[in-house]
Amino acid sequence: MTRPGFVRFDEVSVRYGEGAGAVLALERADLAFAQGDFVCIVGPSGCGKTTMLQTLAGFLRPTGGTVSLDGRPVEGPAPERGVVFQQPTLFPWMTVAANAGFGPRMRGENRAQARERVEYWLRTTGLWEFRDRYPYELSGGMQQRLAIARALCNEPKVLLMDEPFGALDALTREHMQEELHAVWRRTGMTVVFITHSVEEAVYLGTEVVVMSPRPGRILERIPLPFAREAADQDIRRVKSGAGFIAARERVLSLIWGMQHDA
């Protein structure tokens, strides 16, 4: 079931500051995509990609335009929009299980139901046997898996990820890409994913949105087949295919082109 315009950005502008010193972080961004899409946003620093994500998360109110999810305008943060930052941002005084169950607990959800879902996502992310441990006892990759599991325990309509693997080492990062890809295929959930890694974007995304800086705006949207085709294929095989490399180079040349123009 796909509905067009599940997530919509309509002429969204964000301006920081006033008068001559004002910075236009995002200029009339128009973007709409369907339920089940995995949208990767790439672009050099200052292109407004994080700003865009923050308006969808509800952390930032746009200066102009509207952001909406499933037909309703976004007004402030809400559990229907799960968030994962570059830093895991876990609650250090809570066990792994308590961290994962934080959202359902705050929303006063039925306990048995919540416990079941926490168990499901902790098992899926390989953290079930660590459920009574504390975040500081986990590795960086495990902490970030917990941050993702915690967001998923809320059953969000859309998952917003801001460079979630940016702080991980290369090997862990690739494993996480595979795992996230598997979760996405299994759940068919809608994801908006910001990254600096073009390779990551081309592997995970059903679409890559390329943005350019000063002022931040959307430059080009590129639909991609790999996320839906990859299925159970090995990640290295996908990434070394000729079609994949061509797509990756195309996105890269767009970003390179910008830097030479600037």
């Binding site: 998360a57 509800g58 952390f59 402030g76 943060p77 809400a78 559990p79 929009r81 799960g82 968030v83 930052f85 830093q87 941002t89 609650f91 250090p92 005084w93 934080f102 959202g103 705050m106 929303r107 504390y134 975040p135 500081y136 915690r150 967001a151 809320n154």
Partner: protein, 255 residues
């Protein structure tokens, strides 16, 4: 020496000072009045335990003092923490309360002792108020800074996960500030404990601080020394207890 573990060095150091004390007093190099020997102290301790000092035994004096410290510290730290949390959350409240807290914090307690006596008399009220006022600003500043130092992303995350502002306060802000609140409490207790002697200058006839001062006035150096040793060792014990509690409660802090 290089291979000696640190606790052994500590032990040796204490032993050295004790031996010097024994030697100096045994050889009669100083008068008993200035430095009583181990035997005098032992006898003094026996007397304080059996007959007491001016109507109260040593444990009774110590008990009175600890009761004052406990009451002043608990009320002061609780009120200070509540105020500090509120100041951390509300900039307006901080702007209102900060000047008084900043003024009170470095103020030597003896400075307002006279006023407290005039206002509250010489009973328990003025003593405990003094300890309360010593604990309050330290606890308030610790709690306020604890709230301010919370990473903003943590609060955003809590809101994004569906926590209401009230839930964010109780489930995220308060526990996040807990390590700094506990460090502040330990600091406050140290200050309250040090203020105790000053509080017990206020006329009275009980408390270990009063006992030391009174014994000194009557040149009973042995009692004064016993009192100092008891108060010092009790202080170390209390601090260790708090440190142990802190490590248990906020084992996750800074990791």
């Amino acid at each position: 020496m290089r291979s000696l573990p640190n606790w052994a060095v500590t032990g040796l150091s204490i032993l050295l000072v004790l031996s010097a004390w024994v030697a100096v007093t045994r050889l009669g190099l100083v008068r008993d009045l200035f430095l009583p020997g181990p035997r005098d102290l032992w006898l003094g301790l026996q007397e304080l335990l059996d007959e007491g000092y001016k109507g109260r035994t040593l444990p009774e004096h110590l008990g009175m003092s600890l009761l004052r410290v406990g009451t002043g510290f608990l009320t002061g730290a609780l009120a200070g923490t509540a105020l500090g949390l509120a100041m951390g959350v509300s900039r307006k409240l901080d702007a209102m309360a900060a000047p008084f807290i900043e003024f009170l914090r470095p103020l030597p307690q003896l400075a307002y002792l006279v006023l407290l006596i005039v206002w509250l008399g010489i009973g328990e009220g003025s003593k405990i108020s003094m300890l309360f006022l010593a604990a309050l600003p330290v606890a308030a500043v610790a709690a306020r800074d604890g709230v301010r130092n919370i990473p903003p992303e943590r609060l955003r995350m809590a809101a994004a996960l569906g926590a209401s502002p009230r839930q964010v306060f109780w489930h995220v802000v308060a526990p996040s500030a807990l390590p700094e609140i506990l460090t502040g409490a330990r600091l406050a207790l140290g200050i309250v404990y040090a203020t105790l002697i000053a509080a017990e200058i206020i006329a009275g006839s009980s408390g270990i601080g009063w006992m030391i001062l009174d014994a000194g006035r009557f040149l009973r150096s042995d009692y004064a020394f016993v009192g100092i040793l008891v108060i010092g060792l009790t202080g170390i014990a209390i601090d260790r207890l708090l440190l142990w509690l802190e490590r248990r409660i906020v084992h996750w802090a800074g990791r």
